[in-house]
Amino acid sequence: MKNRMIMVFVCCVLACSGLFSGSALALEAGGVDIHGFVSQGFIFSEDYEYLTNNSKNGSFEYNEIGINFSKDLSDRLRLGIQLFSRDLGDVGNNKVTVDWAYGDYRVKDWLGIRAGRIKLPLGFYNETRDIDMLRTNVVMPQSIYADLLRDTVIAANGVGLYGNIDLYAMGSLDYQLVAGSMNIENENGFEKFFNVSYKGMFVIDGHSDSEITYAGGLRWNTPLDGLSLGVSALTNTVDSPVLIGGALKGKNSTDNTAYTVGVEYLWEDLTVAAEYQQYQVEYTLTSPMGSAKGDQTTEGYYLSAAYRFTDLFSLGAYYSVLYIDKDDKSGDNFAFANDAWEKDLALSLRFDINDYTAFKVEGHHVDGTARVNATDNPIRSEDKFLYGVAKVTFSF
């Protein structure tokens, strides 16, 4: 039934994309705006299964589908919902989720209130990471935007404040604050990410619970046109039932904190961005045998550039660096030393066939296996590998 619904929606989007051209299109029914997208990819890799569990043979299990409905109930009050589904190999499997759904009341330009399921401001692009047509590259820099964690960190159920503060000659400041509960679903990538993070010391053994997540983001739109600087932070505590050594049941409690700083510069049809993130985890493992504590700080950063040559053609590239443990960059304490880092050089071509259809191809040269999933790749002795993706996105 669910698959049938997805197919019907896909057909609707494809029909819209083919039938309409020229001016911007939004479907509207009873004052409700309707927008959607279907993004279908193909991924192929050498040496390792990467992102999906079946990329070495080439995989089409790489898609995102979304549809949203929104309505302005007054000049100040807005209501909307977006349904989302994705497939990433054995993650997601096109289960339909609520991506965001919230009421938004703008009290003043410098103060708005949101309540519902709200996207989290983590770095410049967490909120838009599932919207392929907004960027030139296909795969986001995995140093900061790990695809396995996408569904976990994308949004929280709670309340938020936001606004734009005029700094006059100094530009303006956009801010967002969110407090809420994350949805943590093992089958949406969290389990695979979790098990690898602890290098097999213990594995997840049930449903994880998150205490209240707090997230905040500031973006300074500087007086220099096109230049903005950003800082964001997220913190929460997650409790997970675990299995230690394949037999002993226990509980792992983690205090997670992520800090991200970034700079983005738009000049004519050029976009340049760089971000740096530290993701700190302090964990306490409790079992009938006692308890143990540990901590780790993951460090990631990237530099990206994209240029739109014509309405049809854009070119993009990024260099992304990740160290799983910033205090062990050479991998002395990893099963394979190259598990300690990932240095990814990506080159992307984008073709905007019309306002509603974009096609992209992208190649990656990767040094290091920090994001090569150990569950799908037990042996990771090769430190460098290549992978490529192609993707077509229809949107309206």
Binding site: S23, K119, D269, A317, L347, L386
Partner: protein, 146 residues
């Protein structure tokens, strides 16, 4: 075996980042910012115009609701975005797609011709739009011209 591929990718990245250095700035044509004649606001600065068209300001300084309208394409549209919003057409479109797909806003109301903009602004209190310098704006009021 793999090093030449890496070198090619690096060269590509460097070339991409060098492109703007050899590009040239397009010259923008003059545009007029217009509003409904009943609006008590007489002038606007560039920052206010930019923030209204990016959806960051929803009200005029006098507290009235500000609704903006845009041209769907064309040279006047490009000149306006370059002069006041400091974005290219593609960036402006992308910005509003981002708002739409994160639930933060709806696409701007757009018109195919400057005549339609003038008609809509003339008949709708609180509205702000733009036309090229030579366009007859009828009963609308000019807030800025560049």
């Amino acid at each position: 075996m793999k090093q030449p591929k890496l070198r090619l990718l690096l060269i590509g990245l460097v070339l991409l980042m060098a492109i703007p250095l050899i590009g040239s700035l397009a010259t923008a044509g003059t545009v007029k910012i217009i509003t409904n004649a009943s609006n008590s606001v007489e002038t606007v600065d560039d920052n206010l115009v930019k923030n209204i068209f990016l959806g960051k300001k929803k009200n005029w300084p006098n507290g009235d609701h500000a609704q903006f309208v845009v041209l769907s394409s064309g040279e006047t549209h490009k000149s306006f975005l370059q002069t006041y919003v400091k974005k290219s057409s593609a960036q402006f479109k992308n910005y509003w797609k981002k708002q739409v797909f994160t639930g933060k806003g709806k696409n701007p109301k757009s018109f195919a011709s400057e005549g339609e903009i003038v008609t809509y602004v003339t008949n709708t209190p609180g509205t702000i739009g733009y036309v090229s310098a030579g366009t007859d704006i009828g009963d609308a009021k000019v807030l800025s011209e560049k």
